[in-house]
Symmetry: C2
Subunit: 350 residues, 2 copies
């Protein structure tokens, strides 16, 4: 064997959700938004301008637009290439303790991957039997805490009082609340920023703003922790957000009417879909995200997953302990969900 | 002090070249291309399409376009968010030895930053008095080798025979040749890929393709090392290149005529500018990049830098040992360089 192979970093590669080339697929597997970005975003594509120049490394225009939108100051906002980039930078920046970080046993599948990558020790805290986070599990001494709210892939929302409780018991470490799905019906922990300078909130343009293809994520926190994130980012790659991202992201924030309207369509569709699922003897936690997490009282999830796939309907199946009889189904347009219900109706009754 | 501050990663933040908002500045400080991207790229902005969906995590369309353009197979090409991202991923993937990696003492200013960030030990090998790399310095046992060709900020090109020599003496580690500026007059090490499966060549769309604002870099190497890079990238952030990058980068590669034409304009301007510099008693190494590295026989570089800045002409000054009496001047349009020569003429003679 070649000696240089000994020095290659060993990782367990992440397998992303399938991105089929075929556009006839009903794609409910990666929590994308079924509606296009705001009309202004589409129109702004022609104005993405001076591509020959390096983008502003601070993405100042976008940071200011987010800060204004959220009622924060610019030094409270950090932007990155999707929330994955923001979260990875956060792990690298804040989780350098010799104590393990804590996160739920059923949660976003990248947390343990980043912890392994950056050699951060961790403990998974089991959700209760209803898939809820138990705040008390996060009281013992640790090197940091992270959880999504709503949690993924369950869609369950935690009350702000529970988040406050976790923060009160964790004032010596950074607590990250990953709010990728918060706009679909949750209350952001943003108001807790006033009381906790160790709180970092991460959000994204990929879901509620229909811009997964543009890759914009951001974090909100006290100026001191935002500065630390920027220091690490600049030491790694100064120019991460490209000019199209900066321009299109900024425009998106101006289109509040469209934003609210598409959110309402998705949450209305979700509530309709939940009722249809119940009718077909599926059960699911009360999702506040743009997906539902479902199990059937009789039919194995994996079989449904494969049968749907054969009909060009893609959903997500996780072959993991405790959740291997569940499907995560993204909320598409009403037409897409009706087509899926028609498929389920036939599948369940035959 | 808050205890969580103890766990923040300590880094020395990189200070990027100034990106002035004022568009009246003659901007010769960050090696950008003075000409716009190819006309097809500008036209394709409207076709960047399905922004609501995640981009193809493999950026397959762009990887194929690069592979076809270079006469390689797709499994020999890795793409990233600018060559900084590609290089950082390469440090993380390949430099995991307990022996130090080697790079020149005067070189791209990010190498030591990444080495520090990933806790990789390193030794800087001094360039000779003419700022040339001495291949023999790279013979001792090491954990990896990296150097730019042409070197930055000197612009000096190394012969392929010297690169082959370094590779022959370093078959147990990965050798990275950073060819960010190769298109401006150098011979790529690509032909050495046939003989060395431990060679990684990194190039970028930021300079010769006028697309710094889009952030596309790529690496070429044996399938096995490209696979290792992809494994690490996927474990970090699966969706790094956004949809605009994938579409615009692919289109750029189709416009060979425009590409050659702008390269010729820049190299013609560079050769003219070198003669003007000599006339004004500046000296510089024989640059094969889109910048020149100059010193004056009498006037301090820092003073020229500041005087130019006061006239809205930005160049780069590095306050570092051995090069603190040099300026790095990017090659702009002929008009921009004439304006700069007019400034120098007045500055030198008064």
């Amino acid at each position: 064997m070649k000696k240089w192979k000994n020095n290659i970093r060993q990782v367990v590669p992440y397998v992303p959700g399938e991105q089929p080339e075929d556009r006839n697929v009903i794609k409910l597997n990666t929590n994308e938004n079924p509606y296009p970005p705001a009309p202004g975003v589409m129109a702004a594509r022609e104005q993405i301008g001076d591509l020959r120049l390096y983008p502003d490394p601070a993405a100042g225009q976008l940071v200011k637009a987010i800060a204004d939108y959220k009622g924060l100051s610019e030094d409270q906002v950090f932007v990155g290439v999707g929330s994955d980039d923001v979260l990875a930078m956060s792990f690298m920046t804040f989780f350098n303790s010799d104590k393990p970080i804590f996160f739920p046993d059923i949660t976003y599948s990248f947390y343990d991957v980043w912890a392994d990558l950056f050699r951060i020790s961790y403990e998974r805290k089991a959700l209760d039997d209803d898939f809820c986070i138990r705040p008390g599990d996060y009281y013992p001494e640790n090197g940091g805490v992270i959880f999504p709210n709503p949690n993924a892939p369950t869609g369950i929302l935690m009350d702000l009082s529970d988040i406050r409780d976790i923060l009160e018991h964790n004032q010596d470490v950074i607590v990250i609340v990953d709010e990728a799905y918060i706009d679909f019906g949750g209350e952001s922990a943003q108001e807790l920023l006033t009381d906790f300078d160790n709180l970092l909130i991460v959000q994204t343009f990929s879901k509620s703003r229909s811009m997964a293809g543009v890759r914009i994520g951001y974090a909100m926190g006290a100026p001191e922790i935002i500065r630390a994130l920027n220091d690490v980012k600049y030491s790694f790659n100064s120019y991460t957000l490209n000019q199209p991202s900066i321009v299109l992201g900024t425009v998106s924030l101006r289109e509040e009417g469209y934003f609210k309207e598409t959110l309402k369509k998705i949450t209305d569709t979700r509530e309709w879909f939940k009722k249809e699922l119940a009718r077909l003897n599926f059960s699911c936690p009360d999702s506040r995200a743009n997906f539902v997490f479902v199990t059937h009282d009789r039919l194995p999830a994996r079989d449904i997953f494969e049968a749907a796939r054969a009909k060009n309907i893609y959903v997500r199946y996780f072959n993991k302990p405790r959740i291997d009889n569940y499907l995560r189904i993204s909320i598409g347009t009403m037409d897409e969900m009706k087509a899926f219900v028609a498929f389920l109706e036939e599948y369940v009754n035959h």
